[in-house]
Subunit: 307 residues, 4 copies
């Protein structure tokens, strides 16, 4: 295989899709998210060679939302190891990403750690160990990008918390099944703050190099995760990382990825690079519409995917 | 039809079933309920002629639990009238296996006011009007039996509240659909207190005369409900009053009835009498096992039912 | 209670609702049903005194469709007795009347004998005993009305059979659970023929006197069913006889009833009379819209219902 | 990356797992499958270099069952192109517990072509074009392995057909939604014959090289599928190829794969090789227990997976 020309690819994908900015629907279930400029569009690619390439609004920070679930999971696995998998599954959900049906049917064990219910279990694990759980996530992120920990937007977290009735329903249901140990309010607080962390495409692409590099620190080379676990996280991202469109996303894009309703998508090309795309307009499944198109274009132009 | 000999019927049913005391399983999801003596067994029948007949432990008070839903509904209908039916249905639930599924599928509108979700909507209506909603229920009950309002057991209410995670899940889910107006905690508090009201078979039989008498006050004869509404409440009791066994209960017993996990069942023979049976052992559907047998025996021996 | 003036009631209800003919939507899932004149409207009431009162198109025959399920059930219970209840439940379905979900969840045992799946089990019982099962239903009907057996419309049956894919799905699913004994095709054939039986309001009202009279032959007085079983069938009709609107129907009308998509509804006022209303326009639940209104008006005007 | 030593890997994996033969449960829903010797265990690996490596019972033919769905899908895509995706989705099913629920909920469109409902749609496509659809599948397979078409076992097909009530239920349900065009019986016949095709590990590994080689004929190099489609089929195998355990399989093994209840699993390492493992004992999800372990061991020892 010829080497990737990441700089040229990032430029080209950005240029090709620029005219489509504004497509999709910006998340508006909380006021704070609805105010984001729908015309924002950024791409960043971080190579394992340490070089970073970006285009558009790649340096502007946005609400990472569900992308935080990936890093919270990494922390929880470092704490609990395999025992975590007794409390959360690793199968695609196959139903609406915040559906209670499955949870009720399977006795309070969420299908995977990337649906909201599963992420709440992961946060519960962090809550049991950390007085301020979102700090732990922010510190991990800071460490991965050799920077001070990124901050969360308290207003977004608060707004999210006020509208968290559906997540509260899932948390209470899991509590009724004994699969939540900390108080429901504490878990929801931590979850909403974690979702409100703000980062840029360049920062997220660098952080995700951890998985492209199979567990080594993105710059230092220090091993943070066993290689086999990093690969397995990539598997989980591929089958469960993009809400109920994971099958379609794998079909079209072919990369492990985690999306957030803030419009960001982080993707991993194992052994080569990590990418982050940001465009606030979402498709029906809740993934960034332009972001998905950009990643699809990237794998088409480069001829690279995990398949 | 020859007139009912209520005194003889109550005696005979009690005598026939006395040997079966202890059957079924006492509710133990909260410690306070689990301590009830499983051998308790009482029957009371209140005739529209004003006479009361009872046998066994008919004067001992017990936790009325879901029987309270009937009286809370009467209050809510007095306040809201038909508008209430926009927020709660009047169909049997039919979904023993997954109560949250229906709620999710039908956008937060519970099937009927006697399943927990529906009762929470009813309590929400009371909360919007009354600072202390359970007081209103207690006052209605006191008024119906010409006594001071019956009390609720604060320890039972507190214990119930601590284990209310599943009800909390439903309340939050309805809140997310906009079908709950007061704060979730306030609704749950009021609901748990209302369930912890304590009354005896004789008291409940007298209170239920309201429905046997088609809306007239049990003793005074004053009209409290329009006759057509009283009949319709009987219909609702018949199709929805005994959890997921309503079809079977109607088949075997043939009377409108409301049961509670405290082991009480209130039943109505329109135009003739109201009954209350108490025996703490429950069947699989959560209805008093002996209570159901006693009412079945009553309708068999008397040849009376609504059918 | 003052005696019913059935003649006047039938006249008045018919007169009051005549202007509303044409409301609702005629069943059109098979061509043969769609051609019925939507302006047809008939009412018949048969008193236990042997007198028959009718108005409008009460003598015109129509496709009785699901009303046949009641009479097939009576035959199956005569054959199998209580053993039938091991193969079919007696709880309201609470889901779409031809839903497969419940059937899959509850291992091939339909909720009740009036949903399609349950009716297929009933027909399977008849198939095991009768070479031509619909003949047995027709003969029972003929016997009840002291006439030659009513016929089924072969064209309607054939058309229904050609569109029976959903019923076939349910039949095969029950077969996979071992709850269907005869070949699926044979059961479906018999089921479709039985649904295509044609009768008039007057004939159906007379046939349903069996249940109003607690099991005695409508004219002769011979006992065909034990009184307790007749009452229990009334209970089943009340909780399950009108598709997914049984709760609402009981609330509004308050009578045991069985409806069919041909626009007929049979209703029972135990101890007094049986009614049949026919108007082809259906409401959303599949019950005759005008028929339901007429029965509601009947119970309001007469002050009579089971409650 | 150092080159794979397929010969050594195949030998080692086989040797390591030999002692565990007999684990799992042989499929017994039809008599013909239940008679297979549970101690059989074969592995074959076909490199893109044209070399074949095998161990154990790699030359013995077995019933390929659901593995046939992959090749039928390839044929259907060649015929219909993207239009096929209007009739079948590409999302993991996620609903172990109730396959018909999803089908009913999503209006007869199966989640993906590898669950039975989806495979029936694929066969329906073949039926519309081929008088003897399974012949087309057999011919494709023969062409891929440069041999006469493999045969199907008529007794297995017949036995499968006799027990196909659940598949019949799904087919009729899809027919009721208009998503099946040919007669249900014809589709079920073709489906059961296709499942009864018999092949060996070596044959299946060679056939699957088509996907490892991104659409080129395994030996000749002729292009049979566009490269992007071959990659997308790999994506589909990864997210949907191993029943309801696809997430877990991706997590543990990390290769696109298709399993069958005959105990075979075909797996693809894109750009390098294709594998087939056979051991009749199944795990709870219906995948070969030893086969999954063998593939997991293969990716662990080789350090190779798509991630």
């Amino acid at each position: 295989m010829r080497p990737l020309n990441l700089a040229a690819l990032v430029e080209r994908v950005h240029a090709e899709l620029l005219a489509q900015r504004g497509r999709g629907r910006v998340a508006d279930y909380i006021p704070a998210l609805a105010t984001v400029d729908p015309m924002r569009f950024g791409i960043a690619a971080a190579g394992l060679d340490g070089r970073l390439h970006c285009a558009g609004d790649a340096h502007q920070r946005f609400s990472i939302q569900s992308i935080s679930k990936l890093f919270a999971l990494i922390l929880a696995l470092q704490m609990e190891g395999r025992a975590l998998w007794r409390r959360v599954g690793r199968e695609p959900s196959g139903t609406a990403f915040n559906s209670l049906v499955q949870l009720e049917h399977e006795a309070g064990v969420p299908r995977n750690p990337f649906i909201n219910a599963g992420a709440l279990v992961v946060v519960d694990v962090l809550c049991a160990r950390h007085a301020v759980p979102q700090n732990a996530v922010q510190e991990l992120l800071g460490r991965l990008i050799d920077s001070p920990p990124p901050r969360h937007d308290a207003a977004v977290a608060r707004s999210e918390r006020e509208h968290a009735h559906r997540n509260a329903a899932m948390a209470h249901l899991m509590k009724s099944f004994g699969n939540l140990r900390c108080p429901v309010d504490q878990v929801l607080d931590a979850y909403c703050r974690q979702c409100a962390i703000e980062m840029s495409c360049t920062e997220l692409a660098r952080a995700a190099l951890l998985l492209a590099g199979h567990g080594l620190h993105p710059s230092g080379g220090e091993r943070l995760l066993p290689g086999s676990l990093a690969k397995r996280l990539n598997a989980l991202l591929l089958t469960c990382g993009t809400y109920d469109a994971a099958g379609d996303f794998a079909f079209r894009v072919g990369l492990p990825a985690k999306s957030g309703v803030g419009g960001g998508i982080v993707a991993v090309l194992p052994g080569e690079c990590a990418l982050c795309v940001w465009s606030p307009g979402l498709d029906e499944a809740g993934n960034s519409l332009l972001g998905t198109l950009a990643l699809e274009r990237f794998t088409t132009l480069s001829g690279r995917s995990v398949f």
